[in-house]
Amino acid sequence: DQQVKQNSPSLSVQEGRISILNCDYTNSMFDYFLWYKKYPAEGPTFLISISSIKDKNEDGRFTVFLNKSAKHLSLHIVPSQPGDSAVYFCAAKRGTSGSRLTFGEGTQLTVNP
């Protein structure tokens, strides 16, 4: 049972435009959400997170939106840069799971110059 889903395996955008990466979840017990960025042959790096008590969190060019009623979160990157090309994973934490995270399958973002 895939509780965190990233339905788009890939996304291609032009440099300077907005990138929107989507993530859906099924478990209403998730209370904390995170986005990670991963380059090939490297470990993922943390980007941004959001608690379920918020609906938006912003950090520079990155903004995460959470819609709890739809069980949906999205990551907006504005403006997109070629260096943003990577695989992006969303992850979620259940309130009772300690610090364990459940990851989505990832979306490959390609930003074209």
Binding site: Q6, Y32, L34, Y36, A41, E42, G43, P44, T45, F46, S49, F89, A91, K93, G98, S99, R100, L101, T102, F103, G104, E105, G106
Partner: protein, 112 residues
Amino acid sequence: SQTIHQWPATLVQPVGSPLSLECTVEGTSNPNLYWYRQAAGRGLQLLFYSVGIGQISSEVPQNLSASRPQDRQFILSSKKLLLSDSGFYLCAWTPGWPYEQYFGPGTRLTVT
């Protein structure tokens, strides 16, 4: 600052051979530690996690095992590798709060 190390970076092993991957964390104490696997074209699958020395929880039954002999050392092992064990193995740590996990550079394992 905290640093996480993994070795080896790459490994090619024949089917049926043993495996030992090591992960160490510097600059923190009593971290929560995790082993993940990323198979080709797939997401991150949690294999094991540990909240303290000698405390190991398994998420997926398989021929892999994990041990935590010291506070900041986490080891992933197998007695006999299978072809399906090929993948990119990642170690991660978190202080518990905040919840962000920090990943090591990974080990690319190819079982032939």
